[in-house]
Symmetry: D2
Subunit: 282 residues, 4 copies
């Protein structure tokens, strides 16, 4: 496997899209040295965006978390999350009534900024559910899986309403050796059980990439040829970036480890343009 130098790779592009988890940060903080990458980007006038499957918080709150870790460059206007797409969907398509949500109250605050009335699945009374007109899966926390997933199933049996999944990931890293089950897996279980089609937002769906593309500020009308997608996961970052017509760089600091990369590329048929040790500019 030939490894490419990350610095010489990004030097060829005007705009860089980064995945967050496994590329910029891990469960316990920043990828060591990643601040040098942001210095390089600023110095060379590159534009960049973080494209992330996350609906647990608003872009503003996500940006704050980077500040806390010591990176001020990742401002809210540089973050494209699957939660933003779910919010936009509700903005266009939701007309009246209540939106029930599966997740923390914090995840709901973000969609409430549209002026929508929301209700946690915790608080839903199935006998008074007639004015619930949409359901959104936001986060895996903030509710009791035993009682509230069962309630979710029965709510959907009563009400044929649109169901939005604001993060399609099945797991996320909770610590060095532990994964947590993400809301995408819980939503999939309910979808399979009820046999209906949910509306899912998140990479590899091209809608994430077009949303990011439309947010590019410093290079209006940039050609896709001058954008690079950097990610650690073949099935989301690389597949989605490829399909949208971008060049793609796989980094080995997250889901795909050095010893597995070649086998996985061969077995999935998902082929990155480059493979780099990490997204750190040395």
């Amino acid at each position: 496997m030939v490894l490419d130098n990350f610095k010489s790779v990004i030097s060829k592009y005007d705009v860089i899209f980064f995945d967050a988890f496994g590329v910029l940060k891990t469960y316990n903080g920043l990828i060591p040295g990643i601040e040098k990458t942001f210095d390089y980007l600023k110095e060379h006038g590159k534009d960049f965006y973080v494209v992330t499957n996350d609906a647990s918080r608003s872009p503003e709150q996500l940006a704050e978390s980077y500040v806390k870790m010591g990176i001020a460059d990742v401002t809210a206007d540089r973050i494209i999350s699957s939660g933003m797409l779910a919010r936009e969907y509700l903005d266009y398509k939701f007309r009246e009534g209540l939106v029930a949500y599966v997740g923390t109250d914090n995840s709901a605050h973000y969609i409430e900024t549209l002026g929508l009335k929301t209700i946690s699945i915790r608080e839903v009374n199935l006998d008074e559910a007639h004015n619930i007109n949409a359901l959104v899966f936001m986060d895996d926390e903030g509710f009791d899986w035993n009682t509230d997933l069962t309630k979710t199933l029965n709510l959907l049996r009563k009400r044929n309403i649109p169901v939005i999944v604001a993060n399609t990931d099945k797991t996320y890293p909770a610590s060095k050796n532990r994964l947590s089950i993400a809301v995408g897996a819980l939503a999939k279980m309910i979808e399979d059980t009820i046999g209906r089609q949910f509306i899912r937002f998140g990479k590899p769906d091209p809608q994430m990439f077009i949303f990011a593309y439309q947010h590019i500020k410093n290079y209006p009308n940039v050609s896709k040829r001058n954008i690079l997608m950097v990610g650690d996961t073949l099935q989301t970052d690389i597949l989605g970036g490829n399909k949208f017509g971008l060049d793609t760089a796989l980094v080995l600091t997250g889901n795909t480890q050095a010893e597995d990369a070649e086998v996985r590329i061969r077995s999935t048929g998902i082929i990155p343009t480059y493979i780099c040790v990490s997204a750190v500019v040395e």
Copy 2:
């Protein structure tokens, strides 16, 4: 849709296999009048067995529950459950160490009768899991879904061990208008998330039917032509019975309602030999 008379249907067969839920009983007791069916079977020397996707209790405990509802005919030796197949699997294939289980302690007692040592997923310590050599999904109760399903996922990431699903059903009726999520749906979520292949027991798998077939006492060497499978669900009872070579009767007292029966038969291509209002002999 032409409806067949249940009495004249069963009169043609020596042995009857019944599904339990939606055929003999519902969430709150026996199907009204079903005792007349057992009277008829006894009077005419028909042999019968209950073939059920259930691993929550032993056949003895299942039989007791029929006695409590007022039916003494469904003795333990007439019950074939998916839990029995899971138990048999462990008996043949499990050599040493601990079996972790997802479910109630009661569901585990049944597999402990083999002399196996078991541990609830609740009690598993991931740092001391080296002697856990199999995992069994038994029941949807008896553990905390938030913490213990996540623990299940991480146990399987640490230990490449056989995983047995003792009931493949995705839901079961909890009351007139409510479904509960069954252990089959929880197991499927973990299977999809980890990407491994679990070993699943339950209708429509032919192993359930061959197990029942081998238990027939009064008609040794009966031809499959003289056995009827009676069920309320096309995807499990009817598909499984058909595939095993049995004639099948769909009854309309459970999952498949009179107004949907024709549409579902046409759209699934699963065709019962007969359709009857219920399994009650009038």
Copy 3:
């Protein structure tokens, strides 16, 4: 089921996206009366586009076929096909070598306009395939399924190259009572068999809708709120339009028939904003 009047529905929108098959035309010509719809659109200054899963011909050739049927309004610049997306993908991502195609020579001519060298799967010699760097499924005709699908499988076993599916549909109507198997079904069979991930273009994928959105000429910066998607298929037209944030109208002249519409909407959970008898303005 309440039916909406198509004329009063489209009066509320500035831009209309139409599916082709089952909405504007059928296997043997135009939907009777559809010319009145185009008259209405012109008279009222509405902009419209045809958004179609089709890679068998270029937009120019598709436009010609409307002229032959008697409609001059559907010009090439008003047609958005899945073939255009496949062509764009190759334009951005394909660097050198040969593109093998599964389909007619005519379907390949369109991608050759990029300056690419192409070769029909018919002509591929597996022992000299080292310079084939992409494979595109374009059409179900133009090759022998027995020999050439087998050759496709073996080509992909030899070469780990990107595979593009330029039309995801599984069937298309060949006559009043007959369906043909579309290239999307053939591609899916090869994808399942080899276990790799293909890159698929076509509704309900949002990339089709963003591509159409970017082609709107007369209403630059139109809000999604002022665009209506009209289609006959819940799983492609309505699901895709909804997800992209558009209002949607289901018409009953194609895949979804009046007697099935309600059952299908309930069972799939895909909910159109309107249901109309047809796309004909009366």
Copy 4:
């Protein structure tokens, strides 16, 4: 990876089940040395059966092919094929009319021995299909895929009849470096396209193993503990054998190669009891 000695492995069992392709033979003849295995079995009084996903010929014809290759021990009564299960299904469940078949005339001869009237899909006239009461997928040869698979789809749209798939394999080896597409893949494409449920016979389905179990002659009432399943494919031979409660031996002469075995076992979670270089007794 610790390799087990095949001779000492089989010495522990009374009955051996062998897969055919990749274990006893390959595309161009017997596995070199396999005759020594049959000598050993005879000498030590072991009983053995060949359990194979194959419906292209009758057991008699399959046995003949072993004689031609120089092995006389594999007699017809020692062969259990998925075609036998399909034939048994028709024997129990098919009452009257015509069985349409997808495959060679030779594959149909075998089911005709039941006294059924059959018709090749090649000869079917869709306007006179009212007396076709079942469809069987037998083989990938003997018909034109372009015209006859399309005809199959339209036949099933007209007639809601049981569809039997007599071999679930997706591919088979045609030469050292080439695979052929098997009838299981073609059937799956039609099943996905029409959305109905077909009845499928073949490993890993337990029905194959119970059928073999019931055919054991020399060890009546042998415990499953004394039967070994030997195969080259994790997803069919090993998964099916394990689930049926048998010990299993993976050999590395077919689908699973030495360098991949460990990775595949880890990623699928399908765990053989033993791993051996080949089924040759040295």
